[in-house]
């Protein structure tokens, strides 16, 4: 119940930034045009299909991918790291509530708002300008919804860990840069990972959490492979959710012991 209050707070906080949301959707749409033009040109040069995606699937991959950026909040500023450095985090730790769960609840509230704005915006623009892929099987819709939820939690976990590095480093810029590099290339944002040699792609999907944030939800949505394969992708995400949350809790416990307040 307490967590619901935090989720509502997260929703309302982001719902107040209406202009920023509009600006972000605009930017996502410009990148939608850029990336879909590029990937469609690649597909056009290889008889309309590439790495198992046809043109509709590629366009959908790009446009829904641009919407996903906002839902999982791929590039949010390192708020917690700043609070750790400044010492403000002590106010959070004094509350009789676990910091990880509290932040997760707020993030899910934020994601709910993003779902209604940041995801819908690019999909509408993309559907107006391009032929998008509508899932053929009804089961894809609930699978995609689950996948979105898992992706949001995994992305939250990654961002939390990057920020929590500040407990040890004070300046979390290094991890922040590494995270930005990894989520773009290994996440499937710049190009679908299956453009890589299949062994390498498979290794990245299984051994790192990044594809579970962008690539896997999109593969589920565009029905790449059979329903069984969709379930397998979802299971990979589920495993990563469990791993990430366990690591987050462990890091938070050790971080609290490590925390040194810098005066003030």
């Amino acid at each position: 119940m307490r967590y619901l209050v935090y989720a509502v707070a997260g929703f309302r906080r982001y719902a107040t930034y209406r202009q920023a949301t509009l600006a972000a959707v605009f930017t996502n749409c410009v990148f939608g045009f850029l990336r879909s033009a590029l990937l469609l040109a690649v597909a056009g040069a290889s008889a309309g299909a590439v790495a198992g995606y046809d043109e509709q699937q590629l366009a959908t991959f790009v446009w829904v991918g641009q919407g996903l950026i906002g839902v999982v909040s791929l590039w949010s500023p390192p708020e917690l790291a700043d609070r750790i450095r400044s010492g403000d985090v002590v106010a959070d730790l004094l509350r009789p509530i676990d910091l990880v769960w509290q932040l997760l609840a707020m993030d899910l509230g934020r994601a709910t708002f993003a779902l209604m704005t940041r995801l819908v915006g690019p999909i509408v623009v993309g559907a107006l300008a391009f032929d998008l892929f509508a899932p053929r099987r009804f089961s894809t819709y609930p699978l995609f919804a689950c996948s979105l939820l898992l992706a949001t939690v995994i992305c939250f976990g990654c961002r939390y860990l990057v920020n929590a590095a500040a407990y040890w480093l004070l300046d979390a810029r290094g991890p922040q840069i590494a995270w930005t590099l990894c989520n773009g290339v290994l996440g499937g944002l710049y190009f679908p990972l299956w453009f890589l040699p299949s062994g390498a792609a498979l290794l990245i999907v299984v051994a790192t959490p990044f594809p579970s944030i962008i690539q896997l939800p999109l593969d589920i949505l565009v029905e790449r492979g059979s329903p069984e394969q969709q379930v397998v992708l979802l299971s990979v995400q589920a495993v990563w959710v469990i791993v990430m949350l366990a690591v987050c809790r462990a890091v938070q416990r050790r971080g609290e012991r490590r925390l040194v307040l810098q005066g003030g």
Partner: protein, 268 residues
Amino acid sequence: MDSRWLTAYGPLVRAQVRSQAQYRASFVIDVAGSVLFGVLDVVAVFVLFRVSKTLAGFTFADVFLMTALANCAFAIADLLVGNVERLRVYVRSGLLDAVLVRPLGVLTQLAVMDVAARRVGRVVVAVGVLIVAAVNAGLALTAARLVLLVVAPAAGAVIFSAVFVGTASVAFWWIESGELGNALTYGGHDFTAYPMPIYGTVFRRLLAYGLGFAFVAYYPALALLDRRDPLGAPAGLGYASPLVAALVAAAAGLCWRRGVRHYRSTGS
């Protein structure tokens, strides 16, 4: 002008670089990150050509040259004025008031105050990649083309700088513009890195000709490669890129001036 640069801006730049290098580990990580981002810029081209032989009729060597030119131009602009995108933060926090009362140019001060020394890494990589791309393309280098190979990234850097400044000026009117500028700055970087024919007509007209992005890499690369434009532009149009850069810079300068005049302090 020269003496003022040395006496007024010189110490500012030095102080900035020194203060950024103070936290040595962070600085090294930042430089390494900037190098990696520079490498990453070309990785996508390799991956795309792994699954496709040509892109809108252009081979890997052609597109690699365009990407290298675009990266070089962007890296230089990002180093010089990239941080001007933080203008909206300064407008909101009131820091801009402090900048305005000093007897120095506003834009130059902002560029100098925020010079990101770490971004040198990306420029070094970009120049290296450009040389590799030029060799790889087997250019028939005449004197004119050699000059173009040097001038094009500079002109492209002017175009990107103008776009950085122009989009940042939006904050004078619209503080909450958020990441709006990224669409044209980082988006412009992505846009210029590939041949223009891949884009839809309206989108291409707006960005390639409206903002001059076609002159960052596409037309210079065609001139360097001695190729005809599939879109039908006259040969040698790439040599006009300094002219286009001057026009775009003038437009951005006008935006900036109007913005500074329009500026009302937030009072914070």
